[in-house]
Symmetry: C2
Subunit: 165 residues, 2 copies
């Protein structure tokens, strides 16, 4: 196995609209990356920062389903999150809502697409829409990039060792 | 019973952000208007234009639940809609997603609040967020005001005759 250094995710705040776009490439085709994103036993293995355990309490990944998890560090709960799966379009697209319970009136609508690239690779594009430029700025200042980049590195590792290993 | 002429709903497109805000007042307190908005046997009695029958197939109105309905005119299906209930906060707030199946990639995130007014009245404020100014313009041009205003008139009538009548 060769270890390649992958670029960090690109996290872009739209200059005029309350959108944040997170883009990343993976060395696996859309069908596999999609599986890792939607099957709870795989999601558990990569989502979130390395220092945090994601305790997934609800994961009903279907159109009209919902999800809920707690984040724990050293056994102590540090945050809770929940949302709904608006649309689950296998291998292509996932639309969900997202709330951090620490800010119960804040809601993001996230659309994730899985785009095929040459060489059996894939690009994920996650667009989050919020309702104000202030909410967008809050999202950019939340420190989310740590969880995103460390999580995506763990996802690289999971894809390298194989989803069914 | 006196019949008062109520103003139409105010439908505002934000000039800079992809938001549409729909505001209306009702001659009933938030708790009753909220019930009419969330209990399926009441929703059936008022939602949508007068010329259309809303065939509600799924209505699981709880945080993490979902909904789905077809619109029929003269017995013929003319449109289908679906979404999720992201948050149901009784008497206060309802956050849901909304897709018209004719445009399957279009999703709105709707936050409805029920604000108490003097005299046992209430104001509903529904803010829809979409992901582009083009989607906002499409929403404004969709003809939705007919269904909104006729539906709200039917809701006035339902509130006047009593929810449990």
């Amino acid at each position: 196995m060769t270890t390649t250094t992958r670029p960090e995710a690109t996290i872009e705040a739209h200059p005029d609209l309350p959108l944040v776009t997170i883009t990343r490439e993976f060395d696996a085709p859309p069908a596999l990356v999609y599986r890792a994103w939607t099957e709870v036993d795989l999601v558990r293995q990569w989502m979130g920062p390395r220092s945090v355990e994601m305790d997934i309490e609800v994961w009903d990944c279907r159109t009209g389903g919902s999800w809920r998890y707690a984040a724990r560090r050293d056994g102590e709960e540090i945050a809770r999150f929940y949302g709904s799966f608006h649309e689950v379009r296998p291998g292509e697209r996932l639309v969900q809502t997202f709330t951090w319970e620490g800010q119960p009136d804040g809601v993001a609508l996230e659309t994730m697409t899985f785009e095929p690239l040459d060489g059996g690779r894939c690009r994920t594009v996650a667009v989050s829409v919020v309702d104000s430029m202030e909410a967008q700025a809050g999202m950019m200042a939340s420190g989310m990039e740590v969880g995103i980049n460390e999580g995506y590195e763990k996802l690289d590792e999971l894809l390298e060792r194989g989803l069914d290993s």
